[in-house]
Symmetry: C2
Subunit: 343 residues, 2 copies
C-alpha cells in the first residue's frame, strides 16, 4: 500500500463511505465520477445502460461483504445473486445472465463455500438467470475475513423501457412494494445474537417478475429503486437530488412489521434507513398509481404494496415526511456508518 500512513492528517476511507448514505454519495461524486465520468455512470442508477450491437444492455455490479454470511432468510450467495438481479430489474432488465466472483480467506471451510455456491445456484435458477462466468481468488489468512462475493448482471432492455432517477417528475406517485427493514434487522440480529428479533427473516428475494408485472400494467414508469443500503431514506434523497424535485411521504403509510418496529425502538434505528433486499420503490405518474399497485399486489412479493407519497415541485433534493403526530419532518440522507457489513 503506497501513500503516507499513521498520520492524523491523512484522509482515510471510513465505514460510512460504504454505508450508502451521505459519505457514500460524496465518495462516488468526488472520486469515482471524477475518474470515470460518462453519461451512463452519471445517471447514478442501480446499474448502467450501454448499447452493444444495437441492443440496449443494462449492467449492474455489487460486492457483498455481509457478516455473518448465513442469516435468517438467506446467505451471502442468495443475497449476491438476488441483489444484482434486483438492481438489473430496477433498470428495467428482468432477464439476463450473471457473473459470480469470490474472494475467500485462506482457511475458509470448504463446506461453507459449497453451501454458499449451491444457494447462489438455486437463487439464480429461481430468478431465471444463468451464471455464465466467474472467478475465485484466495487471500492469505489474516488478510481478509471469511468470504466476499461480487456479482455482476447483464440483461437486455425492452424497447420503450427507460427507468432513470432523472425521469422522476412532480406529480409522480411514490409506491412501495412491501414492509421495509427486515433484511437489516435479520442480519444485525444474527450478528449480535439478539433474542428479541429472533423471528425476523431477511426479505431477500428476486424482484424481476414483480417488475415485469408493473411494466406490463403501466407503460410510463419513470424510475424504480430497491431500498438497500441506506434504506428508503437514501433512495428518496438520491431521487430528489438527481431529478431536482421534492418528495413528500406519509411516514405512517410506510409498512413496517411489529418485530422490525420493536427492534428499531430498542436499538435506536430509523426504520426508513434500514436496508431491505426484496422490496422496491416505484415512481410513476399519478394516473397509473392504481394500476401499478394492483399489479404489485397480484405478485407474491408485492402483497403489501402501498402508496407512501408524492413527488412535488418543492425545493430540489428535499425529502420530508408527515409524522404520525401531525407534524412534518425532514428525512435526511442517512450518515451511513450505523450498519457495516449489512449486504
Amino acid at each position: 500500500m503506497g501513500g503516507e500512513r499513521g498520520e492524523a492528517s491523512v484522509e482515510r476511507v471510513l465505514l460510512a463511505h460504504g454505508g450508502g448514505g451521505r459519505k457514500s454519495a460524496q465518495l462516488i461524486s468526488g472520486v469515482m465520477l471524477a475518474a470515470f465520468d460518462n453519461p451512463a455512470l452519471s445517471e447514478l442508477a442501480d446499474g448502467g445502460v450501454v448499447e452493444l450491437g444495437g441492443v440496449r444492455i443494462a449492467v449492474s455490479t455489487d460486492s457483498h461483504i455481509v457478516s455473518p454470511i448465513f442469516f435468517p432468510g438467506g446467505d451471502i450467495g442468495s443475497l449476491a445473486v438476488w441483489g444484482t438481479v434486483n438492481d438489473l430489474a430496477m433498470c428495467g432488465a428482468t432477464t439476463g445472465a450473471l457473473a459470480f466472483a469470490v474472494i475467500a480467506a485462506e482457511g475458509f471451510p470448504m463446506d461453507d463455500l459449497r453451501r454458499v455456491v449451491r444457494s447462489a445456484g438455486a437463487a439464480a435458477e429461481r430468478a431465471g438467470f444463468a451464471v455464465i462466468t466467474g472467478d475465485t481468488k484466495v487471500v492469505p489468512a489474516g488478510e481478509a475475513d471469511g468470504l466476499f462475493v461480487t456479482t455482476t448482471g447483464v440483461g437486455p432492455l425492452a424497447e420503450g423501457v427507460d427507468l432513470r432517477p432523472a425521469r422522476v417528475r412532480p406529480g409522480d406517485a411514490v409506491l412501495l412494494s412491501g414492509p421495509v427493514g427486515e433484511h437489516g434487522v435479520a442480519v444485525l440480529s444474527e450478528r449480535e445474537g439478539l433474542s428479541f428479533t429472533a423471528d425476523v427473516s431477511s426479505d431477500s428475494a428476486p424482484l424481476s417478475r414483480l417488475v415485469e408485472d408493473v411494466l406490463a400494467a403501466c407503460s410510463d414508469v419513470h424510475a424504480m429503486r430497491d431500498p438497500t443500503r441506506g434504506g428508503v431514506a437514501a433512495v428518496l434523497n438520491e431521487i430528489a437530488a438527481r431529478a431536482g424535485v421534492s418528495v413528500e411521504i406519509d411516514e405512517a403509510a410506510v409498512p413496517i412489521s411489529d418485530a422490525v418496529s420493536g427492534a428499531c425502538e430498542l436499538l435506536g434505528l430509523d426504520p426508513l434507513a434500514l436496508p431491505s433486499e426484496g422490496r422496491c420503490l416505484v415512481f410513476l405518474p399519478e394516473a397509473d398509481a392504481g394500476a401499478a399497485l394492483a399489479a404489485m399486489r397480484g405478485n407474491e412479493l408485492g402483497g403489501g404494496a402501498v402508496r407512501i407519497g408524492s413527488v412535488t415541485a418543492g425545493a430540489a433534493g428535499m425529502v420530508s415526511a408527515a409524522t404520525p403526530v401531525g407534524g412534518r419532518r425532514i428525512v435526511d440522507m442517512p450518515p451511513g456508518e450505523l450498519l457495516p457489513r449489512i449486504c
Copy 2:
C-alpha cells in the same frame, strides 16, 4: 461463518485454490460447476457468452487482490481494467463497457484510492472502454487488507467469431505474443523488496487492438488465452484437457527476458508458471500461423511474437516441452500456491 471450525478434519480453502493451477481447477469443477452448470460456463473460457436481444455478448469477471497495490508498470486499478479487457478480448470481444466494484478496508488512505481510480479511468480510456457502473463497500479495519477490485466487462462478438478452448484441434499452431512472466516478477519483487529484479516492470497492457489485428488477418482462429495466474503452463494444460488434445512446445522458443530468467533461477520459479498480464496465446490452423504472427508483430504489444509449439492428437490433456538439452519433459499444471496475491 457457519460450519465446524478448528478441527483438523475440516476441509478448508487453501491459497492454492486461488492460484490458477490444479487446485483452482478442482475447485471450479467440484464446487462451481456443480452449482452453476450451464453450457456457457462449462466452456471454461476467460469469459462466458450469452445471447441478449439477438446479440452475442461476452461477459468476464475478475477479482483483483494484488499486493502491493502499486508495483512497477502498474497498479491494482490499471491491472483490474486491463485484466478484464483482456479476458473479453480472449473471447473475441474487443469493444464494450466495464463495471468497477471496490472493497476497501476502513482506514485505507483516500489519496491511494484516488490514485487507483484515476489509473483505472486512464486504463479504461486507453482500451476504449467506458466504466458505466460500479459499487463501493467498506469493511471494518482488520477484516480486509487494503483494497480489492472486481471488474466485469461486457462486449459484443462480431459474427463468425467463436474462440473457445474446445475448438482447438490437432494440427493447430501455438503462438505467443511476447516474453512471459514480467508481471509476476515485478509484483513479487516489489512485495519482497528484491534488488536484483529492480528493472522488471509488469507487462500489464490492453490486448484488444492486438486481438483485432489477428482476427482481421486470420478468419479461423480457434482459441486465445492470456497466461495470467498459472502462466503458460496452466493455459496449455487447460486447453489440452478441454479440447482433448496434446500440446507440444519448444521450451527454448518461449521468450523470457534475462531479468525474469535470472529471477526464476535465483528464486526457484518456473517461468512457464509465472503470470503475465499483457501477453496472449493463440491457437489456430497451421496454415494461418504466418499471417497471425505477422499481424501480432505489427502491433506495438506483439513485437516479440513467436511460435512456441503445436497441437497434436497425442494423449488427451498432455502438455510436453522439448528441453534446451534435447530431451522432452511433461509440463504439469502448476500446483498454484507459490504466488499468492499476484493479480
